[in-house]
Amino acid sequence: MRRDPRDLVRYTAGQRANHWIVGISFILLGMSGLALFHPAFYPFALLFGGGTWTRILHPIFGVVMGVAFIVMVIRFTRHNLMSRADWQWIGRIGEMVNGNDESMPAQGKYNGGQKLMFWLLLLCMLLLIPSGIVLWRTYFDFPVEWVRWAAVVHSATAVVMICLIFVHVYAAIWVTGTVRAMWYGTVTRAWAKQHHRTWFEEVTKLKPRSE
């Protein structure tokens, strides 16, 4: 669906569905995982049918997210290769955060911060998946010292990932006109020109007015 025929397509339906599967499973994982991590969050266990159900479901959500995340990495890696310009953008992130983005260097489909986020999230998943398997006592029985390491790695990485996702979600809310790309896949031309000028020029050249 396009609200305006001149809107630019940023995500296909498949990409959006993929992102939603990752997003929903992340929220379920975050809440069930926090319930198992700190008594302050134990009430979250009620949302999953109690402590035992939380323990049963958490790793199953993990498998869903792991698979969906890997598919997403395959789809998006080529858009997230870091260039020198991306590092320069990251070096000037202070201006961006301050709200003075007028003089920031022109960006492609993703800016340096988004690309860095992509790689950090991938790193988190590469730590969370194996440590999660080691902790999954229903099906696996690893030496206890491995399990101890896995518990530390899994919980520390999870907290880092939750913080990264806070930043990811907040950035989408902060930059007006972004969240709709997650819902129906399009952004306005003005949005693209302001935030991703290089990408705007690429796609508008490819898709002339007479499309």
């Binding site: 001149r6 319930a35 198992l36 991590f37 700190h38 008594p39 302050a40 134990y42 109690g50 402590g51 035992t52 939380t54 323990r55 955060v97 301050n98 709200g99 983005d101 007028e102 006592r137 229903t138 206890v144 010292e145 399990v147 101890r148 390491w149 518990a151 530390v152 919980s155 520390a156 907290v159 939750i162 913080c163 806070f166 930043v167 907040y170 809310i173 902060w174 930059v175 007006t176 006109g177 306005t188 031309r189 003005a190 949005w191 020109k193 302001q194 007015r209």
Partner: protein, 297 residues
């Protein structure tokens, strides 16, 4: 399992005071390995009192049977054939089971409120109705004691017969021991009793005889008299057991640090929005884009 409720000293995953107005004396079980003949009466008494019948296993060429602790075997006679000195064979037999640590790693690791409690008499008890089956207690234990049942995915271990003790009886294993190798009473009395046993053993040629009451876990409420207290590994016991530093990290500083970090990032985002406002598309660029469209039209 237990019937007491007013003499709780610590409760898993609980950050507020626990019902603890009733004070009970510090109790301990003392196992004198030099007096043990390996008859397994304690193992049988444990099964009988707790009404547990394990599956019939296989003989693996040892008197040790079953091969390991499990959900229905909360105490197990372990048999060790060792040579503390060359050409001097000793058959060491140790009754294995929960040590009831003063500083229990299982309780620290448990994420489920009230699934593990420590009573003021020192007994560390699992309340299986609150157990969620995650196995974190196994991760926390320095003695490799708790076992997850394959039948119900709950963790089980020795209760030190908390049900018997709460009504003034000694644990079933103590009651049945035919040689007096297992004694039960106040921890102070048990240490005194052990000291007399150690003097006796010293006179009988065991110069290194001593008490196993490891301080790394704050002392234990199950203690051993060992003929070779300088080498507890001969009996399959860790020399200086402590709750693993990894578990201390995971269940200690990591928890408040995690909350502080997540709260900081969350509130920083909120206040960023409140102070800086949204990053909206500028009117200028909107006009530019409109103009380009008109030109193309």
């Amino acid at each position: 399992m237990a019937l007491q409720s007013l003499d709780i000293q610590a409760r898993s995953a609980t950050t507020t005071p626990v019902p603890g107005v009733r004070e009970t004396p510090d109790l301990a079980k003392l196992i004198d390995i030099s007096k043990c003949i390996g008859c397994k009466a304690c193992q049988v008494a444990c099964m009988q009192w707790n009404d547990l019948q394990g599956e019939i296993g296989h003989n693996i060429g040892s008197y040790q049977n079953p091969h390991d602790l499990n959900d229905t075997t909360w105490t197990l006679m372990r048999f060790y054939e060792v040579e503390p000195e060359a050409n001097r064979l000793e058959w060491l037999i140790r009754k294995d089971g929960c040590m009831h640590c003063a500083d229990p790693g299982c309780l620290a690791a448990c994420p489920s409120p009230g699934a593990i409690v420590q009573f003021s008499n020192g007994i560390v008890d699992f309340h299986q109705e609150n157990c969620i089956g995650c196995g974190y207690c196994i991760t926390g234990c320095p003695f490799d004691i708790p076992r997850l049942s394959k039948k119900d995915e709950k963790a089980y271990k020795c209760t030190l017969c908390s049900d018997r003790v709460s009504v003034g009886l000694e644990p079933a294993c103590v009651k049945t021991c035919p040689t007096g190798a297992i004694t039960f009473g106040s921890k102070r009395d048990m240490i005194e009793h052990a000291e007399a046993r150690i003097v006796d053993l010293n006179e009988r040629g065991f110069a290194q005889a001593g008490l196993y009451d490891p301080q790394g876990v704050g002392g234990t409420h199950v203690m051993y008299v060992l003929q070779h207290a300088d080498r507890p590994e001969l009996y399959g016991l860790p020399k200086d057991p402590t709750v693993s530093p990894l578990v201390e990290l995971w269940k200690g500083i990591a928890k408040p640090l995690a909350i502080a970090t997540m709260a900081f990032v969350g509130f920083a985002s909120l206040f960023h929005y409140v102070t800086k406002g949204p990053n909206a598309v500028s009117k200028e660029i909107e006009k530019e884009v409109e103009k380009e469209e008109e030109e193309q039209a």
